[in-house]
Amino acid sequence: MTGSVAVPRPSAVTPLAAWRRLGSWDVLLFVLVVCMFVFGDAVTEDVRTSATAFNTLRNVTEIMLIALAMTMLIISGEIDLSVGSAVGLSSCVVGKAFESGLPMWQCAVLGVVSGTMGGALNGFLVTRVGLQSLAVTIGTLALFRGLGSVLLGNNTVSQFPQGWVSFGYSEKLFGFLPKTWLIVVPAILLFTVLLRYAKTGHAVYAIGLNNEAARYSGLQVRRIKFALFVVTGAMAGLGGVLFTLRTASASPTAVRGLELSVIAAVLFGGVSIFGGKGGLFGVASAVLFLGLSLRILVLAGVKPNVLTVVTGGLLLVSVVGPAVAARLRAHPLFSRSAGRAERESHSAQTMLPDSERL
C-alpha cells in the first residue's frame, strides 16, 4: 500500500529503544493493573485477595495464550478473527473424543491438533491462495463454529476425569497462581524471547512495517506468516483444551466473542492495528487489565451485559485513542513533531495494513 517511509528500523526492536519508545504505555498499563489490585477495595470489597488474583488469572488463561500469538500476527500486518471459533472447535473435539472413550491426554492432544490444523488452513488460504486474512478468517469463523456443532450437535459433554478438571479449575500454586499457568508463564517467556530477541521477531516487525521491502530483502514472508497463523491456531487449540477443563464441559455454543477480547487486549496493549508496532509486555498487561477490571465489576455486582460494553469500549478506545493522538500531534497547536504524526496518520488509510493489492 503506502510504503513510502516504512523502512524496517532495527533500532525499533532492540530492548533499549523499544523501552524508550513504548515503555511509557507498557509501564503505565502495568502500574495501572497493580493499582487496581491494591486500591480496588475502594470500589468494592474483596479485591485485594489471593482469591481475586486466582480468579482473574484463571479467567484470562485462553485470552492470554491466544493474545501472545495474535500479537505477532497483528504486528506482521495480518489478523485472525477465527480464534474464538477455533477455541470452540477444539473444545468440541475434546468432548467428542472423550465421549468416544479415548483417554483424556489423547483428547487434549486432539484438541490442540484441531486448532493447529485450523490455523494451517487460515495460513494456507492467506499465504498461498493470496486472500486477505480478514475475509478468510470471517469465513473460517463460521466454518469452525459449524464444524463444532456438527461434532456435538446439541449435546454438552461433561463428566471429564476429576483430576484433569481440578487441574483446570481449582488447583493453585502459592495460593494464587492457577496450575494451568504452568503452561501460560513459560509461553509468555518463550514468546517474549521470540519477539524481542530472536531473528524471527525482528522479521515479524519488518514484515509489518513494509511487506514488500521485507520480501525484497530476502525474508521468507509467506513462510513466516504461515507459521504465525499455525501458531495462533495451536494456541487457540490449547486454549480450547484448557477452557474445556476450566468449565468442565464441552458444547458448541459455550465460546462466543472470544476473538473480541483477544483483539481488544492486543490493541489496548499498544500494538498498532496497522502492523509493525507493539510488544508483549504491554499486551500481557492489557490482558491482566481486562481480566481484572471485569473481575472487579463482577465483584461489584455489575451485570454481564455491561461487561460486554466495557470490552467493546476498550477495543474502540484502543484504536480511536492513538488516531486522535496522532491528529492532535499533527495540529499546529501541538506541532512539535507534526511531520511524524502526519506520516503516521497517512500510513493508516486502507482497511488493512498490507493489502497485497489486487
Binding site: R256, F274, L315, V324, R327, S345, T350
Partner: protein, 336 residues
Amino acid sequence: MTTATLGTAAAPWRTLLRARETPVLVVLVAVVVGTSLANPRFVSRQGIRDLLLAVSFIALMAIGQTFVIVMRHVDLSVGSTLGLASYVGVVAMRNLPGVPLLWLLLACSAVGLAVGLVNGVLVAKLKLPALVVTLGTLYVVRGIQGIVVASKRVNASALPESVVDLGIRSFLGLPYLMWVVIVAALVAAPIARYTRFGRDLYAMGSNPDAAQLVGIRVSTRTIGAFMISGLCAGLSGALFLARFGGTDVNAGMGVELSVVAACVIGGVFIFGGSGSPFGAVVGALLLKVIATALPALKIKEFWQDAIIGALIIAAISVDRIAVVRADRKRRLESRR
C-alpha cells in the same frame, strides 16, 4: 472487474452472461430444482413462504452492507443494531401516540442511522480500519441492548395488530416483508449504479488513493455508506419484529456473519469495487435456500454454519482466481 456494473457497449445478453450475479442465480436455481426433485415437499406453498419470510431481514441488511463492502470496508455491527432497533421500536410504539407502525419505522431508522453515523465518522475521519471499529460498536451496541432489554421479552400479544399483520399478510403471493426487500432493492440498485454517490463508492473501493486524488469527497461518501448500512439494519429490526412477533435480548445475535456471507456469495467483491444490491439479495436467498434444503435432504441442520463458512471461502477464492487470471491475460496482451 467492473464490466458487470458498467457494461454499456456489450449486447444485453452478453452483459447478463458476464454479470457477477449470474452464476449465483444458476446455483440458486440448481439447488432449488435438485432439492425439490429429491423431496417434492420442498417447494410447497408454505415452504416458500417461510423461506421468503426468513430471508427478508437478512436480505435487507445485505442490501445496505453492499454499499459498505463496495468501498472496501465492512460493517459487522448490523446484527446488534437490528436487536437494539427492534426493542427501541417497541418502546416508541408503546409510548408515542398516533400510528404505531410509523413510530416503529422512525425509531428503527433513527437507531440505525445513529450507529451508522458513529461507524462512518470513526472510519472516515480517523482513518481507522472498519473491521475493528465495527467489531467494537457491535459489542457496545450489543451491551446497550442487553442493558435496555435485560430479561424483558416482547410477545406478539404486546404488539399492535398492524405490525403483526405485516409479518403475516401477503400481496400477490409474496409476503409483505419480501415486498419491502424488493422495494429496497429497486431503490438501492439505481443509487449504486447510476448516481454520483454510488459511482464514487465503487471508485473508492477499486482504488482508494486514486479516488482521493481525483477529488472524490471520500469521508462524506464513507459516512453516507455506513449510514445506509445502519439504516437498513435498523429497518430490518422492524422486519424482525414483524416476522417473529417479538424481540428479546438475543435478537440479531450473530446475524452479521450471514449478512457478510450473503453479500460475498452474491458477488459483492470483498476487496471493493464491484457487486450490486441485487446480487446481495440473491446471495441471501441462496444461503437460506441451502439452510432449508438441508433438512429436506435429511442432512442435519448443524451443518449450516460450516456450509456458510465454506461458501464464503469458496466465493472469495473464486474471485481471487478470476482476478489473477485477468491480470495475467492483461499482462500478456500488453507485452504483445
